[in-house]
């Protein structure tokens, strides 16, 4: 496939892997965090870990927008889905995220009309086609997906589609990164920055990471060569004592972002004072709600969702796993109360989360893989 295969060239991959080996100090252990779930997926899918030296460790970050939705929000969604006459729509991978009493898939089995859509526009189309039903879109994601929700709402407003509303769970990328960086026990040396988010916000918002926290950032694309090259760029910064924001994904990410996308977000959304993240707790100014101009489309106002906060079990230590402070197996509930079939924390929800991956493939984890 053109424009895809070029970035998956195994020959070039070996060349970059060689340069990485030359760039690292064998005496030093490197922990790099890939912030975005998309990168985690690429690392897992292509086995990129295998091409890195043993002293370079990739830590999976909080950037999987599905996994960070807390139980209480899922419960609210399920409650709305059970309201009479509601067609509840969301992205596919949201369907399996557990609330305190089951998932949206379970709600569907109990009779709720839950449908998977590919875009919020599909949900709006359902609303137009079925004016007698209330169509709710469960919006999730970082700045990557927020503009498409915003545009959909602008269209709904312009067309006067009254039976359409949105549960807004959009979050922003900078506050959780700042929360991670603020913690005194952080053990990370650099960040592989989120590529898709940056197509919207640009590279500029990440400047605070080198400026205030002294950690390098490389904004990265999602193909295996992108991720490898980004790791190389980070390791070179660390080796040369540089600390800056570099843009590996320049073919897509402009330094200042996408002004049009930021404008529509500004019109449709407003910051929440705080938002809860599964495994990370409340983070101030990290979530978006619908702005007052769009309050009529806010499903949280239209329906009486319980809005109860369901605390993550106390023993869940996703925060520490994310910061690289502990390994998955060191968590108190790992493998006992928290399993891939019945996950508690964000790291177990997605199959690529650090804990789920370790649960499923732990016997075959990286160190042993090298030995096989």
């Amino acid at each position: 496939m053109r424009f895809v295969d070029e970035f998956r060239d195994a020959e070039l991959g070996r060349v970059v892997a060689g340069e990485i080996l030359a760039a690292v100090d064998p005496q030093r252990h490197y922990k790099l965090m890939e912030v975005c779930g998309g990168h985690t997926h690429a690392i897992y899918k292509y086995g990129i870990d295998d091409l890195l030296p043993a002293n370079v460790e990739l830590v999976h970050g909080p950037g999987c927008p599905v996994c960070v939705i807390p139980m209480g929000r899922v419960d609210d969604g399920i409650a709305i889905a059970h309201e009479p006459g509601v067609i509840f729509t969301c992205f596919g991978d949201m369907l399996r995220v557990p609330g305190s009493d089951g998932t949206l898939l379970d709600a569907k089995a109990q009779g709720a009309d839950v449908r998977m859509v590919y875009s919020p526009l599909d949900a709006l189309r359902i609303a137009r086609d079925q004016p007698e039903r209330q169509v709710v879109f469960f919006a999730i994601g970082f700045e990557t997906t927020a503009p498409s929700t915003a545009l959909t709402l602008m269209r709904a407003k312009a067309e006067g589609v009254e039976n359409f509303s949105v549960v807004c769970n959009h979050v922003t990328i900078v506050p959780p990164l700042r929360a991670l960086l603020e913690s005194p026990d952080l053990r990370l040396e650099g960040f592989i920055g989120p590529g898709h988010v940056s197509t919207v916000v640009g590279a500029r918002p990440f400047q605070f990471i080198p400026d205030q926290y002294g950690k390098p950032v490389v904004i990265s694309g999602f193909e295996p060569l992108d991720v490898l090259q980004s790791a190389l760029m980070l390791l070179r910064q660390l080796g040369e004592g540089r600390c800056e924001v570099e843009n590996q994904y320049a073919r897509v990410v402009p330094f200042d972002g996408n002004a049009a996308a930021l404008r529509v977000m500004g019109e449709v959304f407003a910051l929440r004072p705080h938002f809860e993240w599964r495994g990370l707790g409340f983070i101030s100014q990290s979530g978006l709600r619908l702005s007052d101009d769009y309050a009529d489309f806010d499903a949280e106002r239209r329906f009486s969702a319980p809005g109860v906060r369901v605390a993550d079990p106390k023993a869940c230590q996703c925060g520490e796993v994310l910061k690289g402070v502990i390994k998955p197996w060191e968590c108190k509930v790992f493998g006992t109360a928290c399993t891939p079939e019945r996950p508690i924390g964000t790291c177990m929800v997605s199959s690529e989360g650090a804990c789920a991956a370790y649960y499923n493939f732990g016997r075959f984890a990286r160190g042993e893989r090298a030995a096989v």
Binding site: V4, I48, G92, D93, L180, S183, N360, R363
Partner: protein, 377 residues
């Protein structure tokens, strides 16, 4: 509250050195024991995941059906084979067909109902002899639609050389079936050349697939029109008996086991067999035949073609000595010219399937939990 909330001290974090190593081993062995246990059926209700061919389906079958119907494993149900043994040399299988839409590029529900059942016999090493046909029709179904499906059934049965010898029809009220559901059963005679068992694969054996993967499932997903994607993909529905016959002919006892890679795709079949035989399987991703149009659609949908359903692809485990001849024979069968050797059986790690990625890394190819759901990120 601020982001400082993230900080939670852990006593365990300070556990270092040897004791942490042994704790890790302990945690891993707890997990291993849990994973090795027979799946339990603990769900409160049936969800769509129970029909997707992954872990949830496995819990339904191994946790509810087998314990009730074949409690001491005396029959063949516990072997979870595609077809069960009846007497000395007969094999029996049954399958239900519930696809939407009823017609799709490359086939229809009627064709699937014949080929799917014929294929379950074929991969069990049994020459198909006869089929039964049971139709559940929804009130209001157009006579033209029904006529077309009956014709498809007749044509597919004729092409496979297997007569429909008995049947049944029922009509349910509007809204109680998706147009029509079909159940077929098939009876076959075990081929004397067959020495097949899901426990037979051993280290060194080669893994063959009989053609490009992912076509049927992709064609169905696109035909449903949910994705507003158009691509030239057609279902691969066909009888696999000619392919099975050819393999039995050249490989004989060197043919360890065959499966048709229907729901859950090639990945699920390999996982089932790795578990059943206690071996590992390594798949070379670059050697798996996938047509570019399927790769493209899967790329956009965020789905791995190895997990997508096929209706005319079998996976065969063949001894190393017989592998080359088996592949040549397979490629000589009409419709299987793109058959390929995609990997081999290893001793380690038992029960797991690994993929050597085309990029040069490795990953574990696990069973699905439920349906392959498109990813947002």
């Amino acid at each position: 509250m601020s982001g400082g909330d993230v900080v939670r001290r852990s006593a365990l974090a300070t556990t270092g050195g040897r004791s942490s190593e042994s704790r890790e081993q302990r945690v891993l062995s707890i997990i291993e024991t849990a994973r090795a246990k027979r799946a339990k059926f603990r769900d409160e209700r049936v969800t769509m995941a129970h029909g997707a061919g992954g872990k949830a389906t496995q819990s339904l079958i191994e946790g509810l059906l087998v314990p009730a119907l074949d409690p001491d494993g005396a029959g063949t149900l516990a072997q979870l084979a595609d077809a069960g043994a009846v007497g000395e040399d007969l094999a029996l299988t049954t399958d239900a067909y519930v696809v939407t839409p009823l017609r799709f590029p490359g086939g229809s529900i009627g064709e699937l109902a014949v080929n799917g059942t014929v294929n379950d016999l074929a991969v069990a090493g049994a020459r198909p002899l006869a089929l039964s046909l049971s139709l559940i029709l929804e009130e209001g179904l157009g006579a033209d639609v029904l006529r077309a499906e009956v014709e498809s059934i007749a044509n597919a049965a004729a092409a496979a050389g297997v007569p429909v010898v008995t049947g049944d029809t029922k009509v349910v009220e509007r809204g109680h079936a998706d147009g029509m559901y079909i159940t077929t059963a098939g009876i076959g005679r075990r081929d004397p050349r067959a020495r097949l068992s899901p426990r037979a694969p051993r280290p060194g054996d080669r893994v063959l697939v009989s053609g490009p993967v992912g076509e049927h499932g992709t064609a169905i997903m696109l035909a449903r029109g949910e994705f507003e994607l158009d691509a030239d993909v057609a279902s691969d529905t066909r009888s696999l008996w000619p392919a099975a016959d050819a393999l039995l002919g050249v490989a004989g006892a060197g043919l360890r086991c065959m499966r048709d890679a229907t729901r859950g795709g090639v990945a699920s079949v390999l996982n089932e067999l790795a578990r059943a035989s206690g071996v590992g399987v390594t798949v070379r991703e670059g050697d798996v035949p996938v047509r570019p149009v399927v790769t493209g659609a899967a790329e956009i949908l965020g789905i791995d073609p190895l997990y997508v359903a096929n209706e005319g692809v079998l996976v065969a485990f063949v001894s190393p000595a017989a592998a080359d001849a088996a592949l040549t024979a397979l490629r000589g069968v009409e419709g299987h010219d793109q058959a390929a050797e995609i990997g081999e059986v290893t001793a380690e790690p038992p029960g797991m399937v690994l993929v050597e990625t085309a990029f040069g890394g490795r990953r574990v190819m696990d069973q699905l939990v439920g349906d392959p759901l498109p990813r947002i990120c």
